[in-house]
């Protein structure tokens, strides 16, 4: 397999719109990197530049240390799986999977061996004589993956491969991709806007916004130590709650609530005394407690958990909204008063929106 290095990559279109700004990433051999971000953040553009489907405006792309910035797509030894499958409707599954090798005029017996091996991996052996229209969306996507596998490329590129599937199939196909990665130990670049896919599949996640890389890290790092407000709000479901608070001694004072800081938190915020910061709290880090009075606006029982939505105090302002994911079954009624405590807090600089880490300032 292969290593991939993206060095200071920019993408500027002819109309001077810049889609990607100074993208840097070192992909290790056999690593599964997920590019995640909202629509229009430049993740697909980045993937297409890696594939050779878009020109790189500035920067370098290295595959196994070899500069392939100007190499045509067909010579890059990469295989791409598209959201729309891109299968040939008039060909059987076997012919679809064999097509790229047939074009290369490989020995038919070799092609057969590779197609059968890929079909075995993907559980498509019994479908090989069918046409794509006879298969489900998940099976079609597996065929698209099979077409990539037979080529034995150095890098696999996935462009939102699960977006066309329903929720159940998406989960199943996601697990198949994960198994495939474990089995092939292939270097993979995967683009998605779905944070669940990113968190479950990735060895490392690249979170993007407006063409800029916001954070690169393991799923746990992005979840537990988001670099800024954007990453904190994008990763996690339900999303993190944010409040403007003032650091006042050993307390944080917000609109309608006041919470105590631990010694460690005070140390982290020592440079922000009497300043306003942004407090972030994940819904799953909220428990019932004495600190924050909440007026409940909805109560959603999910079985193991209950999602409680409401407003802090009596305020109806959007900035006072709160979502808490409480363990167990709760039965709050609309208008009930509850009281919560924040177990784990994230602090962000109000001006830069960057995370405030211990040891800073």
């Amino acid at each position: 397999m292969a290593t991939l290095n993206l060095q200071h990559i920019d993408k500027i279109y002819d109309n001077n719109v810049q889609a990607v700004f100074d993208f840097n990433l070192d992909v290790k051999d056999g690593e599964l990197i997920v590019l995640v971000g909202p629509s229009g953040c430049g993740k697909s553009t980045t993937l297409r530049m890696v594939a050779g489907l878009e020109d790189i405006s500035a920067g370098k792309l290295l595959l196994d240390g070899r500069d392939i910035t100007a190499t045509p797509a067909k010579d890059r030894d990469m295989a791409m799986v598209f959201q729309s499958y891109a299968l040939y409707g008039h060909m059987t599954i076997y012919e679809n999977m064999a097509f790229s090798l047939t074009l290369r005029k490989e020995n038919p017996n070799v092609i057969h061996k590779k197609v059968m091996a890929a079909a075995e991996i993907l559980g498509l052996t019994s479908q090989l004589n069918k046409k794509p229209a006879q298969l489900s969306g998940g099976q079609r996507q597996r065929v698209a993956m099979g077409r990539s596998i037979v080529r034995n490329p150095k890098v696999f590129l996935f462009d939102e491969p699960l977006s066309n599937l329903d929720a159940k199939l998406r989960g199943a196909t996601r697990r198949e991709i994960l198994l495939l990665h474990k089995r092939l130990r292939a270097t993979m670049l995967y683009v998605t806007h779905d944070q669940t896919e990113a968190l479950t599949l990735a060895d490392r996640i690249v979170c993007m916004s407006m063409g800029h890389v916001q954070q690169v890290g393991t799923p746990l790092e992005l979840y537990d130590s988001p670099a800024n407000v954007f990453v904190a709000s994008f990763i996690g479901l339900p999303p993190m709650n944010f409040y403007d608070v003032r650091v006042s001694g050993d307390k944080l004072v917000g609109g309608g609530f006041q919470i105590s800081l631990t010694q460690e938190e005070q140390h982290t915020l020592r440079a922000y005394q009497n300043k306003e910061i942004t407090l972030g709290v994940r819904p799953e880090n909220i428990v019932e407690g004495p600190d924050v009075p909440v007026t409940v606006s909805s109560n959603e029982n999910l079985g193991m958990n209950t999602l409680v939505h409401g407003h802090i105090g009596d305020s109806k302002a959007a900035s006072a909204k709160i979502s808490a994911k409480l363990k167990g079954w709760r039965d709050y009624k609309v208008g009930d008063t509850a009281s919560f405590t924040f177990n784990r807090k994230h602090f962000f600089d109000k001006e830069t929106t960057n995370a405030i880490r211990g040891g800073e300032g």
């Binding site: 059987t92 076997y94 038919p108 017996n109 057969h112 197609v115 004589n129």
Partner: protein, 163 residues
Amino acid sequence: MTAEERTIQRDRMRFIKNSLSSNLAILGILFNVFYFVSIYKSDVDTYYYNILIGASIVYNLVFMLAVFLSSEGVKNYKRNYSYLLAAIGALQIGRIFIIPMGAHTATTLVGGETVVVMQDGQFIRVLVYLIASAACLLASAVVNYIRCNELEAHLKSLGTQGA
């Protein structure tokens, strides 16, 4: 070819159409088209071109339909179409002795002069077309028959039913 390669080649037949047989059958149609176009060029007014050629037109239509259907059949390794193609191929040989041979030996009066209905050049040309057509159809039938047997044996060895 090693035994393993042979096995792989047979296994491929489960997923690859029998294009060779199918294409040979289509080629058989093509040569037949050349044949009857060459026949109809003659402007000699004899019974060959009034009765037999009328029948020939009907036969050619049936021929093309049957061979085209057979070409699709052999593409999917259907053995029965081998028999049909072999029979049609044999008929193509038989046709040599109807119009071409008859017209080549018959004479007619043109401008008060007795001439052969089908001259040597035209006769040889249509003969070549008919023989080529027959050869293609017979080859298609034989190739399909052999492949059907191989595929059947391979499927039996795999313990599966049908291709």
